[in-house]
């Protein structure tokens, strides 16, 4: 009995945690119709991802399975599901909220750590080679204006983004 009560608390807590996050506000509107899954280009291609299942697991309080699993990283952010959801669940944004939570707990896939590090050091997520920067003049392109790294660093430090990649693996 006590165990059952504990489980209910976990379910409610995780839902509340998600709805309190930017992007996660609408998750509880889901009634599991599956319009998202049938609109999803990734679900058609692999059984590693099904947006309806991710939402179901989250609403059932399966925190570890959702935040430490592989599935949330398979969303292609195409927003097809979100356009079509009859309950106006902002599904792609919910996935962002779940990824934000996973990352803040140290679960960062390598590619995201690479993007974060490139942003922090260059102000761009795809660094520009010196070679191509020099070639611009040959092509008749104007010199590239420098990125505003100083202002960016202040923003990243204000939100703690600059510390995010340091958390990698902390809880794994």
């Amino acid at each position: 009995m006590a165990e059952e009560k504990q489980e209910k608390v976990t379910i409610v807590d995780f839902s509340k945690e998600i709805t309190s996050k930017l992007g996660g506000e609408t998750i509880t509107f889901c009634y599991q119709c599956g319009t998202c899954a049938s609109s999803c280009p990734v679900t058609k291609t692999t059984d590693r991802f099904n947006p309806r299942q991710v939402i179901r697991l989250a609403l059932l309080g399966q925190r570890d399975e959702v935040l430490k699993g592989d599935s949330i990283w398979l969303c292609a952010s195409c927003y097809n599901c979100q356009e079509r959801c009859p309950q106006k669940v902002e599904i792609a944004d919910v996935i962002y909220a779940l990824r934000n939570m996973a990352i803040s707990e140290g679960n960062i896939p390598n590619i995201y750590a690479e993007f974060a590090n490139a942003l922090i050091s260059e102000g761009r997520i795809v660094p520009i080679s010196k070679f191509l920067e020099k070639k611009r003049a040959d092509y008749g392109l104007p010199p590239l204006k420098p990125a505003g790294i100083e202002a960016l660093k202040k923003i990243l430090s204000a939100t703690g983004f600059d510390k995010i990649t340091a958390k990698k693996g902390e809880t794994q």
Binding site: K21, L22, G23, P41, V42, T45, T46, R48, W73, L74, A76, S77, C78, Y79, N80, Q82, E83, E90, A92, Y96, A97, R99, N100, S104, I108, P109, I111, Y112, E114, F115, A116, L119, G123, R124, I125, V126, P127, I128, S129, L132, K135, R136, Y139, G140, L141, P142, L144, K145, P146, A147, G148, A151, L152, I155, L156, S157, A158, T159, F161, I164
Partner: protein, 291 residues
């Protein structure tokens, strides 16, 4: 002359000078002045939104602030940049509490998002500022012999609630602009479906399978080329065909061409001025049809 702050983003200057060149040449020819502003950074696209949505909004807003300070609206070439910036612009203009939160972050960098500028994709600039009539009159090499598979990429259209670009299920703007050059914009299966590009780096096999579908569908419909707007879709489909060759042992030779390149060519810009050697899949058979 209408002036815009040109937001270049990361991928175009890093990988695709042919896109930047063709866009600059075509838009200038059509009477649009492009201003390069100092201090812009990455737009904060989905990979950064995945890390932290609030920081991403602040990064996007910081870029918009630079245009606000210069009293210019923004034009983007990349649809990913369009999505990040237009989404942030709409959200922050319409949600006071969120705007206050983001402005609190921006204050650390001495910035304030005011919300008095527009973020537009260059297709909107072509439709609304230049106009179809002027485009049609400016075409000197009509693309009459070309069957084009239009692929706008997801983030020109979706999320439509915030981007407000075109009908997300039955868009017309991109096709209309292709046909304004004399080409035929053809229907192909799953035309609006994603290219899978954002899964590259995490699930390469899944990304490639989705990209392959796109190439196969355009190929089966008899397209001479796929026209793109997003540098990431371009990379996924152009470079992707090299990977399809090694992984699936299939060769499609489907030219992937940015709309800006088609536009420039139809306006009479010489191919040699456009750095076309940045295409992995050669586009000679398309060029042969433009006379």
């Amino acid at each position: 002359m209408t002036s815009y702050a040109l937001f270049l983003g990361c991928t175009i200057p890093a990988r695709q000078p042919q896109y930047e060149l063709s866009a600059r040449k075509a838009l200038t020819k059509l009477g649009i002045e492009l201003v390069d502003l100092e201090g812009m950074t990455c737009c904060a696209p989905p990979p950064l939104q995945s890390i932290d949505l609030e920081t991403s909004l602040a990064i996007a807003a910081n870029n918009i602030c630079i245009a606000e300070e210069a009293d210019l609206n923004i034009v983007t070439l990349c649809t990913g940049c369009f999505e990040s910036l237009a989404m942030a612009n709409t959200l922050l203009k319409e949600k006071t509490e969120l705007k206050a939160r983001v402005n609190k972050i921006l204050s650390n960098a001495g910035k304030e998002f005011k919300g008095n500028k527009e973020v537009r994709h260059y297709l909107q600039v072509l439709m609304e500022d230049v106009g179809l009539d002027r485009i049609k009159q400016s075409v000197v090499k009509p693309l009459n012999k070309l069957k084009v598979a239009a692929f706008s990429g997801c983030h020109l259209l979706r999320p439509s609630e915030l981007l407000r670009f075109d009908d997300p299920e039955r868009p017309r703007i991109f096709d209309t602009l292709i046909e304004a050059l004399g080409a035929k914009s053809i229907w192909y299966k799953n035309k609006l479906k994603c290219c899978g590009g954002l899964l590259r780096g995490y699930a390469d096999d899944v990304a490639l399978a989705i990209a392959r579908d796109k190439i196969v569908n355009a190929s089966n419909a008899g397209a001479d080329c796929i026209a793109t707007l997003c540098p990431f879709c371009f990379l996924t489909l152009d470079l992707g065909q090299m990977l399809i060759k090694t992984t699936y042992k299939e060769e499609y030779n489907m030219p992937i061409i940015h709309y800006a390149e088609l536009l420039s060519l139809s306006l009479g810009v010489e191919p040699k001025e456009l750095a076309l050697d940045f295409h992995k899949v050669k586009i000679d058979k398309v060029l042969e049809k433009i006379t």
